[in-house]
Assembly symmetry: C2
Homo-oligomer: 152 residues x 2
């Protein structure tokens, strides 16, 4: 499980580097599919990961309006800040049973911690796949996202 988180974080950082090829307007330009633009995709991935990790721990959800984080630097900084917390929290979560049901404010259903961890992982990989199509639409080579060769 931890290898997938490390994979997602490594690939995400490579996309942050890739984003430097684009202007702020291109990062925020409306695109078909996904959540609508490149920078918001990265913000959304980070927000979803952080919310669910807090949810697993029984902590309240904190709202982070995208309007306050709509530059590459701010989204990258948010990712770094949350990751420092998540690295520690995840260690605890993975050491304990993951069969406990979790109740969160934004969803009526309950899910096991294990189900939520799988969800966070698949969610990020799915959205990163969307970025790769938008990259080609911009005539740019997407980040190489193979899992193998990363020695995670």
């Amino acid at each position: 499980m931890i290898k997938f988180f490390k994979y997602n974080w490594q690939v995400r950082d490579e996309w942050f580097d890739w984003c430097n090829l684009l202007t702020p307007d291109e990062l925020l330009k409306d695109r078909r599919g996904g959540v609508g633009n490149i920078l918001y995709t990265l913000f959304h991935i980070i927000d979803v990961e952080y919310s669910w990790i807090r949810g697993i721990q029984g902590k309240d959800d904190i709202a982070f309006p995208f309007a306050d984080y709509n530059t590459l630097e701010k989204v990258k900084s948010l990712s770094d800040t949350f990751r420092n917390e998540i690295v520690v929290d995840l260690k605890t979560i993975l050491e304990e049973s993951r069969e406990e049901l979790v109740n969160v404010s934004w969803d009526e259903d309950k899910y096991t911690k294990d189900e939520i961890l799988h969800h966070i992982i698949a969610h990020e990989i799915h959205h990163i796949g969307q970025l790769s199509v938008w990259a080609r639409e911009l005539d740019l080579r997407p980040v190489h996202t193979n899992f193998i060769s990363r020695k995670l």
Copy 2:
């Protein structure tokens, strides 16, 4: 690990159903990004999964030219056939140590069985993310791919 395989297979079957909304020409139409068209994406996912699972078991790679499988029915049938084999093989693979290095004909590097299993899983989710963008370009709602709620 097995939950991610079950997730990918369930989502893949939902995309096969979704493909019935399209004509054969639309399924094969050139698109920007990914591996270039919708049907070949599904074929490629299946081919990569099967090749690596055989590789883990030390079996020879078998070439399946897309030209022989370029209809929705044939690709779905290939997916079903391979899955019946993989379900059994995966059970054995997951019961044994996954730290052993694997040598395959199409790659000079060696990877652990564990690394390859992670690769297969992330590879499919990534390409499915690409299908979701192409679906919106066709003004169609993509398959809902959340991991939670699937009770896997």
